[in-house]
Symmetry: C2
Subunit: 250 residues, 2 copies
Amino acid sequence: MSQPLILVTNDDGVHAPGIRALFAAVQSLGRAVIVAPERDNSAVSHSLTMNRPLRVHELEPDIHTIDGTPTDCVTIGMNKVLDRRPDLLVSGINPGPNLGDDISYSGTVSAAIEGTMYGVPSLAFSLAGAPPWDFEVAAGVAWKLAAMALEFGLPDDTLLNVNVPQRAAGEIRGICFTRQGRRIYRDAIQEIRDPWGRRYYWIGGGTVHWSGGNNTDESAVRRGCISVTPIQLDLTNHEGLDFLENKWKM
Amino acid sequence: MSQPLILVTNDDGVHAPGIRALFAAVQSLGRAVIVAPERDNSAVSHSLTMNRPLRVHELEPDIHTIDGTPTDCVTIGMNKVLDRRPDLLVSGINPGPNLGDDISYSGTVSAAIEGTMYGVPSLAFSLAGAPPWDFEVAAGVAWKLAAMALEFGLPDDTLLNVNVPQRAAGEIRGICFTRQGRRIYRDAIQEIRDPWGRRYYWIGGGTVHWSGGNNTDESAVRRGCISVTPIQLDLTNHEGLDFLENKWKM
């Protein structure tokens, strides 16, 4: 069998230190190819660019950029840049956590969702901490988890959302398989007045509360563990179907 | 008990005919209040505006606009416009379907996700068809389903994603409780050349295939049924946790 082919992408752009650390980390597992946005795309989340053409630029051998979003990079990377379907997709390493309800807004996770739609085992990596960022330990974790995904596979239609606490390697308390936590904002809208006394609202500030029990991604990271959350494409609440069929008298 | 309070929003903006039809339809169920974007927000999906202040404008009694996204409207509507937590949130009616994997990109559905995060039963309505749009039948369906949600409730942490086929009322084949389908694009990237012969890629076109079996949202709508899909906030693949704990040898 030929060596594994690994697609590497992110949402912060090809020049971000996080993707370079990830690219270096997975080199030993096979042939790694970057297809990443030209520049920071954190704000655009998981949109596809359909209203204009996109250009692929080969920056260096096996490092390609696209003037688009992370989802564009995965779609075009899979279909046009790589000459076969990759064996693995890795996204990140994002500087900052992607935990709980926030993952639905994350470009890092969106790239892994898109990879999963193509049937490719996909992992999203984020570094939970604050600047200055140091990706070394997280890159080691990414290497280990990527190797395991290649060896053992993933559940069908499921990606892994990985958050690594920014700590010295010796202070990390292992890998925890977790579920997605619930993030609750309180008093997160400030009322302000403009120079003419008119009222405006500014979303932000307030306090963040977490719920969802002990085994959540957020609680694991707070305890110093690496959280590994399996995220599924299917959003259907299958038990909810029973509720509707039994409780709703049509 | 006081009459139900119903928050009405959308992603196409306050002047869209779909939200006006929805607003009129739910009037008889309680007090309906619109808090909707000033203008079309279909492209911004479910982002929160945190980098600038937002202004609420009262267009008419119980019709408010915000210069922001659908998610902004729900957050500020819940916390600042309404004087108590609403009993129901309805979003739409979107001109065009929101089916299968596409719902993760939908502003209409995002507003209902945000409502669900606040613990408010939330329904997203879309009209599956093509222009010219006629919202009359879908508005009647919205009235019926909103009444049922008020009477029977929804499963916890779950919204309803409703797609109504654009047909005459007599040609609609009932309400089906469905699951989210899988959308697969084939050959959906066109290669083009610019005037200097350089290669570009344009995402779009190709063919769309659906999978996921008979009971999907897409198959129901295609058969002429109203699809009602319960969508959960929790993206965790709980069976996937067992897979990882048993199959991954750490």
